[in-house]
């Protein structure tokens, strides 16, 4: 088991190197020369050349990449913004907590609503409640979140005046954004919970437990939920990353000073070095979430442990 944990943690390294190379190469291939774009139209050739040297853009691509990785690992330096020439790491440190808070808050909403509703509608399959929940789940995954965000603002901020429409001063500012970012994940968790419970419900080992004379409540908790939890955990971790990604839209609509808004703004203003840093932080976050998921999986499911005795771990 320990060996599995160590291997699984070490696996993050090649993934991150691969992902960073991929993103770095993509951004490097973008049309337009950052040196010309960000020095302005009245810049002299000398200004442009100086900009290139300051940001290391005069070196060949592969050297630039190695420099970047080297600085990240030795100094935690993600380079300087092309636009404002401030350190990217500092900007991210300022903005990431907002994004993380938003995502965690939306996770809480997702879990507290998605799982109970999923269980309830599975246990009352084909009832009216089940029908309503299933339909709402369908709408939840189909709704564009930017639209939902605007409608929530319209209702709760403009008409009712209950909640603020933009900013991130205190928890009240996070309610509408968290609901928006979480709605798709909530619907997915609900649907997955429902189908996982229904799937487990017709397994023979539930019959075995009933044949033992076990109480229904114990059967649900001990035999059904634990088995159904495996697909649910997978989808929870996917929903975490999904909600993180949704923050790009949500933070933009609610004008929250989060990292995902920084990311979108930087894409629009072609500040690729900031894009690189923000994407990497998001990738690391997702990687860690996936890692935790895999470890939880291994702790719950004995089949993974015994499988690992036989063959090497193959990623996530």
């Amino acid at each position: 088991m320990l060996k599995y944990v160590v291997k699984r943690i070490l696996w993050i390294l090649p993934v991150m190197i691969g992902a960073s190379f991929l993103v770095f190469a993509l951004l490097n291939a973008s049309p337009g020369d950052p040196a010309r774009i960000h020095t302005g139209s009245d810049a002299t050739e000398a200004d442009i050349e100086k900009f290139r040297q300051d940001h290391g853009l005069d070196k060949p691509f592969i050297v630039q990449y190695c420099d970047y990785i080297y600085k990240v690992f030795t100094k935690g330096d993600l380079g300087n913004s092309y636009r404002s020439n401030t350190p990217v790491a500092g900007r991210i440190a300022q903005t990431f907590p907002v994004t993380l808070k938003l995502t965690l808050f939306s996770m809480v909403i997702m879990l507290l609503t998605g799982i109970p509703l999923g269980i309830l509608s599975a246990l009352r399959q084909y009832s009216l409640l089940d029908g309503i929940v299933s339909f709402l789940g369908m709408i939840g995954v189909s709704m564009p979140n930017f639209w939902l965000a605007l409608q929530l603002i319209l209702i709760f901020s403009f008409h009712l005046g209950w909640l603020p429409a933009s900013g991130s001063q205190d928890m009240r500012y996070f309610i509408l954004p968290a609901v928006t970012a979480g709605i798709a994940g909530m619907a997915t968790i609900m649907r997955t919970t429902r189908s996982a419970i229904l799937e487990v419900y017709r397994q023979d080992y539930i019959k075995t437990a009933e044949a033992k004379g076990q109480k229904e409540s114990v059967i649900i908790w001990r035999h059904m939920l634990k088995n159904a939890s495996l697909p649910i955990i997978t989808v929870i971790s996917a929903s975490f990353c999904g909600s993180l990604a949704n923050s790009t839209v949500v933070e933009t609509v609610f004008s929250m000073p989060g990292m995902c808004k920084l990311l979108v703004d930087s894409i629009v203003s072609l500040d690729n070095i900031v894009v690189m840093g923000a994407i990497m932080v998001l990738a690391v976050t997702c990687c860690i979430v996936n890692l935790v998921t895999d470890l939880v999986f291994a702790a719950i499911d004995p089949r993974i442990k015994s499988q690992f005795k036989r063959r090497q771990v193959k990623g996530s």
Partner: protein, 285 residues
């Protein structure tokens, strides 16, 4: 005999699919939209850029079914002309992901070995980032624009498609009729194309359909963020984005494009659910 069996399989599938009223409703709605695209010039009463300064921000009425925007443009006409962007965003992006994903997935699933290992590790790397972020990075790289977003969204969806195809192909690969085909000296390409893929197609079709819906959502999100099709093109996401400044007084500017995006995605998701249930009877009792 073979043909007959195939037909009856299709018929069985259709019989199961037909029972799903929601899926049928979804298909009808999409057919309606395709009809709208084909006859957009007839259906739309105004041009997409006809500005009427007397009728700026008019509420929905008999004259302007969905109202007008801040330049006095008829929103109904703009919605009609915008339909093709939304539908083609979904279909083309999903098709790009399918072409890449089916190719990589069938090759890795069929051959296995080192190449499989290598490609799947690359897929793992791609999958570290959620779809929309991957699409965002690629848009940053390719530059904004409709075709670029379409390609970006398509590529962003291909890792998932690769995984689905690979799993399906691996499931079929070890069956006896494949052994039989191999022993008949059929070429690998022929085996994959004629024997493996047709038997692995069900999960691929479902993934394709579901990704059409996702691609529409991602694509319109990118447009909303200003990275997709640029104004004044009547793309639904960017119409919504443009309308948000007036949304307090003029609900129709944001509500109408939003509702239609949702309806399209909902319809496709319902078709996808119907397909999944009909193609995989094991899942439902």
């Amino acid at each position: 005999m073979g043909r007959n069996r195939k037909n009856s399989q299709l018929y069985e599938f259709w019989k199961r699919f037909r029972r799903n009223k929601l899926a049928i409703a979804g298909i009808l709605f999409i057919l309606l939209l395709i009809f709208v695209i084909l006859f957009q010039g007839v259906i739309a009463r105004e041009g997409i850029n006809d500005q009427k300064y007397d009728d700026m921000l008019a509420a929905p009425s008999m004259k302007y079914l969905f109202g007008t925007d801040q330049y006095g443009r008829d929103i109904f006409s703009r919605m009609v002309y915008g339909t093709k962007y939304t539908i083609s965003m979904g279909l083309i992006a999903a098709s790009i992901s399918a072409v890449i994903g089916i190719f990589l997935g069938s090759v890795t699933g069929y051959y296995g070995g080192k190449m499989d290992n290598f490609i799947m590790r690359a897929v793992d790397i791609f999958m570290t980032l959620p779809n929309i972020l991957l699409a965002l990075v690629m848009t940053a790289s390719f530059g904004p624009g409709f075709f670029n977003t379409m390609i970006a969204v398509g590529i962003a969806g291909s890792p998932a498609m690769t995984r689905v195809t690979r799993a399906a192909v691996m499931g079929v690969r070890n069956q006896e009729f494949i052994e039989a085909a191999i022993s008949n000296n059929a070429s690998d390409m022929r085996i994959i194309w004629r024997y493996v893929l047709p038997n692995a197609i069900a999960p691929i079709i479902v993934q394709y359909t579901m990704f059409v819906a996702q691609a529409i959502l991602i694509g319109s999100s990118l447009s909303f963020l200003g990275l997709g099709l640029q104004p004044p093109a009547p793309e639904w996401g960017s119409m919504l984005s443009a309308g948000k400044a007036y949304m307090r007084e003029c609900w129709w500017l944001t509500a109408i494009p939003g509702v239609f995006i949702m309806l399209v995605v909902l319809a496709i998701n319902m078709i996808g659910d119907g397909l999944r249930d009909a193609l995989d009877p094991k899942q439902k009792r």
